[in-house]
């Protein structure tokens, strides 16, 4: 299995972590696992909306004091 691709968006306020997620999506393939790191609180709702729209899957959402990390499986490209 390929390594998880880390997308580090910590500190990004504008345009924000979804930019980095969408950018990584363009360069991804079916089966890839990506982990988005962010500090922007809005990322949870945005990543969920993004996954629903694009038909991809959120595997896990973890929160610690330094970051929110969201693990995403690419099912559709």
């Amino acid at each position: 299995m390929d390594a998880v691709k880390i997308i580090d968006s910590r500190g990004s306020a504008c345009p924000g972590p979804i930019t980095d997620l969408a950018k990584a999506y363009r360069n991804s393939k079916v089966g890839d696992i990506m982990e988005l790191w962010a500090t922007d609180k809005g990322v949870k709702a945005d990543a969920q909306a993004w996954a629903t729209k694009t038909g991809n899957e959120i595997l896990e959402v973890k929160e610690d004091p330094e970051k929110i990390s969201i693990k995403i499986k690419i099912n559709k490209r």
Binding site: S9, A13, C14, P15, T19, A22, R26, D46
Partner: protein, 394 residues
């Protein structure tokens, strides 16, 4: 004297050069072009037909003692501290600063090259903006599809600024009722940062601009005049206004591991040092910093790097301060930093005047003569302050 070599005569490169003490450092700026452009004005060429002169020779924008060389760099070898020019040979350095901005890439999306060549845009060049104005002024009504082709783009507010100024123009010339304006965006909403979206979304609705969120352009078919998104939606247009994706530098950099897949240069987000190097920096749009690609970040990053090179403690705090023209004579600023989210700062006439004043004094800002004004402005508009002042019930 230590040699500082700056690749790129845009905002970042010039501000950096003008903040170095040329009695202590041998400062050289290299660019493939003689001219520096005030890029934020492309918007007013494209939607108002402005004929203002927005370029000046790079050599005239450097303070005495700093050198300008016109050359096109082909290769940078960070391990050997050598930079290869295609016209004038090899350059050595003690400190290297790469400030090459972005490159538009209309060839990376099928159908975009033809659309771009025919209709222009409001982001890339004077030529493309004039091209768009000629199409906008010929337009007789129908559907306008306006937006960015990919998430990597300069200046986040400018995309909606274009839609707002287009709407204002069409209303002025009596075509608004005959036109459907569709703003497509790869983001979840009209403005990507949610607090600013709360401010502008009512204006988007009130002006009847339709928004297609999560629309990341996959292909364009100029025959059927249809744009299809990666997410599977499609949009038919009569007038396409599509800002091409941005890519990083075309210069070959050794080692290539310092660049990401779009050729942006990986650098520390506070010190701008290229990953793995203490003597090489990437400033402004060409780097991978988690912030907006905009003039103000290039400016502030350049000031921090000038301090670092000169042995002073300094770091970039991620501050953005993007002027946002909401049309009909009003504007706001998108303000945030690494530790504070975007503030919901409302548009006013005064802020529009400030944006227009900024356009006039831009040349002074490159020389450093406007620094005291900026220092005060940045102090009065710290994002934590604005967030408190404009906090809403949630």
């Amino acid at each position: 004297m230590k040699k500082v070599l700056i690749i790129g005569g845009g905002g970042g490169g010039l501000i950096l050069a003008n903040h170095l003490d040329t009695n202590e450092y041998d400062v050289t700026v290299i660019d493939k072009s003689d001219l520096h452009f005030y890029q934020p004005w492309f918007l007013y060429i494209a939607f108002k037909g402005s004929k203002r002169k927005i370029s000046r020779p790079i050599g005239e924008l450097l303070k005495p003692g700093a050198n300008f060389v016109k050359d096109e760099i082909s290769t940078i070898n960070l391990d050997e501290r050598k930079v290869y020019g295609s016209r004038k040979g090899v350059y050595n350095y003690d400190y290297l600063v790469i400030a090459t901005g972005t490159n538009p890439d209309p060839d990376s999306i099928p159908g975009l090259r033809q659309t771009y060549d025919e209709y222009g845009d409001y982001h890339t060049s004077v030529w493309s903006s004039q091209k768009l104005w000629s199409n906008v002024s010929k337009f007789k009504g129908g559907t306008v599809a306006i937006g960015q082709a990919s998430p990597t783009c300069k200046c986040p507010p400018s995309l909606l600024e274009g839609a707002f100024l287009l709407e204002e123009h069409l209303r002025k010339v009596g075509l608004r009722e005959k036109t459907r304006i569709v703003f497509f965006t790869p983001f979840p909403r009209a403005y990507p940062a949610e607090p600013m979206n709360r401010v502008v979304e009512p204006m988007v609705k009130e002006r009847g601009i339709e928004v297609m969120p999560f629309f990341d352009v996959d292909t364009i078919d100029p025959q059927t005049k249809t744009i299809t998104s990666l997410e599977g939606d499609s949009l038919k247009y009569d007038l396409p206004i599509i800002v091409p994706p941005c890519k990083g530098t075309k210069i070959k950099i050794i080692p290539e591991t310092v660049q990401d897949e779009d050729r942006f240069i990986k650098a520390d987000k506070k010190l701008m040092k290229i990953t793995g190097y203490d003597d090489a920096f990437a400033v402004g749009d060409c780097n991978t910093l988690p912030t907006s690609k905009t003039g103000v970040t290039a400016h502030l990053e350049a000031m921090a790097v000038a301090d670092i090179i000169q042995g002073k403690y300094s770091e970039f705090n991620g501050r953005i301060n993007c002027p946002f023209d909401t049309a009909y004579g009003k504007a706001t600023f998108v303000i945030a930093d690494y530790n504070n989210p975007v503030a919901p700062y409302p548009p006013t006439r005064l802020k529009h005047m400030m944006k227009m004043t900024m356009a006039r004094i831009y040349w002074m800002t490159l020389m450093g003569t406007a620094d005291p004004i900026f220092d005060q402005f940045f102090k009065f508009t710290r994002p934590e302050k604005l967030n408190k002042k404009y906090a809403t019930a949630d």
